[in-house]
């Protein structure tokens, strides 16, 4: 029992460390990629090639004055950033980031914990992350913050439906809610059994668009449309509370990418994993990197939606498409039992 706990604690600490580092460097990557896309250099002053920039940004946030507006609700104002950040970090404990490896003679599963309802756990945490934004906007006592948070909660509720339904296809194909089994079901056929190639193309596109909306990224970043709303729900925030919002946003990008990789790109599957289990880790990281890059690419390429277009798109196009995807997948599974190999 203590052995199990020790294993958990070590894994959690290591993953937390890696995730926070990744979050910091995602901000660097974001600025660099933005620079390249806009034919600029990007940050290059702090450290070699600007690699210490995240450190400098972090220090800057720590030393900034922490302003709380006079009429703000002090308790909720302080709690809201944490409510936004915690679900983003908690998601990571169920994602399998590798197969089994042997360290010092003991076998270790490369996931923190394995839940029978891993997929539902992801959805549950995703639905909880709304509160951080909603309470931040309300407690700031600022009309721009409030409008931003109202927009974002409406948007997240609307796109959550499409997100949940887009996953159902994967669920039918793998016959399990357990993320490890979903990954294992995608092995074989030299990578062609990944869900994104095997019949869930539409599912992936819907999932990805909905994930963009859930993480409030361009082209769905209406909650913080700076032209109309100053900075949306975090207008009044400063110092480390602001930093927590930014961190949560970057963490959400990494998390959604990891979930996309797990559900649609075969997770840690890849050639040679059976013989060299450590490779699985690198396959997983590489795939996540590609998906994250896609997030950034979209962000710096597309313009923002108008709010009514956003709602129309979510309810009238994305949701019906997701339902059609479910119906097709379910029909195949019903009339050709064993077609998906489960």
């Amino acid at each position: 029992m203590t052995d199990l706990f020790l294993g958990w604690i070590i894994k959690i600490v290591v993953i937390f460390g890696i995730l926070m580092t990744a979050v910091a460097y995602l901000s660097y990557m974001e600025r660099k990629v933005m620079g390249w896309i806009q034919l600029r250099v990007g940050p290059n002053r702090v450290g070699p090639r600007g690699l210490l920039q995240p450190l400098a940004d972090g220090l800057k946030f720590i030393f900034k004055e922490d302003v709380i507006p006079r009429d703000a609700n002090r308790l909720l104002f302080a709690v809201a950033p944490a409510l936004f950040l915690v679900p983003a970090l908690m998601t990571f404990i169920v994602i399998p980031y590798g197969s089994q490896v042997t360290v010092f003679g003991r076998t270790i599963n490369l996931e923190v914990t394995r839940l029978d309802v891993g997929l539902l756990y992801l959805l549950a945490l995703g639905s909880l992350s709304v509160y951080g934004i909603v309470l931040a906007g309300w407690s700031s006592n600022n009309k721009y913050s409030l409008i931003g948070s109202l927009r974002s909660s409406a948007q997240m509720i609307s796109y959550e439906l499409a997100l949940g339904l887009s996953i159902v296809g994967v669920l039918i194909q793998s016959g399990s809610l357990d993320l490890v089994r979903i990954v294992q079901a995608q092995g074989g056929w030299h990578g062609l059994k990944w869900n994104v190639f095997a019949f869930q193309e539409l599912g992936f596109v819907i999932f990805y668009i909905a994930a963009l909306a859930e993480t409030n990224r361009v082209p769905f970043d209406l909650p913080e449309a700076e032209g109309e709303l100053v900075a949306g729900y975090h207008t009044e925030y400063s110092s480390m509370k602001m930093a927590m919002f930014l961190m949560a946003e970057e963490a959400n990008v990494i998390t959604s990418s990891s979930v996309a990789v797990t559900l649609f790109f075969g997770g840690w599957m890849g050639p040679g994993v059976g013989r060299y289990p450590w490779l699985s880790l690198f396959y997983f990281l590489g795939k996540v990197f590609v998906i994250v890059f896609l997030f950034l690419w979209i962000r710096f390429t597309l313009p923002r939606f108008r709010y009514d277009q956003l709602m129309d798109f979510g309810w009238k196009i994305l949701l019906p498409a997701a339902i059609i995807n479910v119906v097709i997948t379910a029909t195949i599974a019903m009339f050709f039992p064993g077609f998906f190999g489960s």
Binding site: L120, A124, S127, V130, L146, L150, S153
Partner: protein, 167 residues
């Protein structure tokens, strides 16, 4: 270990539930209710009902309470708190209803056999997604479908009501 966790979660659930009643600010009550739901969901996990636990969070905490918070935020007018006084007579109804609820709860406590705290492995089979899904679509198919039709009717009704005011 399980006992300690249970006590912590149970205290959290009850404390948050009491906080719902004590708070004057409706938003604080709503947030407390979310806390109660989260604690109860954790208790479900301890009883190996993982599916129910996840549903508790997704449906109640994640969807219904968001709407609650949404409405409270939109109607956030501190001057309207006197509206409560109009319904003084409700106070006299509350006592019998509370007594009835308490009686029902006690009756159920009496009829349920002692709950084992590390839930037995058999409980895991009952609480699994598969067994719930199978029983929903075989034994309880009719109630399940009737409920879905009912919800659909409610949705259509809501849309009709919302539309009428606009036009």
């Amino acid at each position: 270990m399980e006992k300690a966790l249970f006590i912590i979660l149970a205290v959290a659930a009850v404390a948050a539930a009491l906080n719902i009643l004590v708070q004057r600010n409706p938003l604080y009550s709503a947030v407390s209710l979310i806390g109660t739901l989260a604690a109860v969901s954790a208790l479900y996990i301890m009883l190996r009902a993982q599916f129910i636990a996840a549903m508790q969070i997704i449906v109640y905490a994640g969807a219904i309470m968001v709407l609650f918070v949404f409405v409270i935020m939109l109607l956030n007018a501190p001057g309207q708190q006197h509206a409560v006084d109009k319904h003084q007579w409700l106070r006299y109804l509350a006592a019998p209803f509370a007594a009835a609820m308490l009686g029902e709860a006690l009756y159920i406590f009496k009829s349920v056999p002692a709950i084992q705290m590390p839930a037995s492995p058999a409980a895991a089979a009952i609480g699994s997604t598969e067994s719930i899904g199978v029983s929903l679509f075989t034994t309880y198919l009719l109630p399940f479908e009737v409920t879905s039709v009912l919800i659909l009717m409610a949705v259509v009704g809501a849309i009709v009501l919302a539309r009428r005011e606009g036009d």
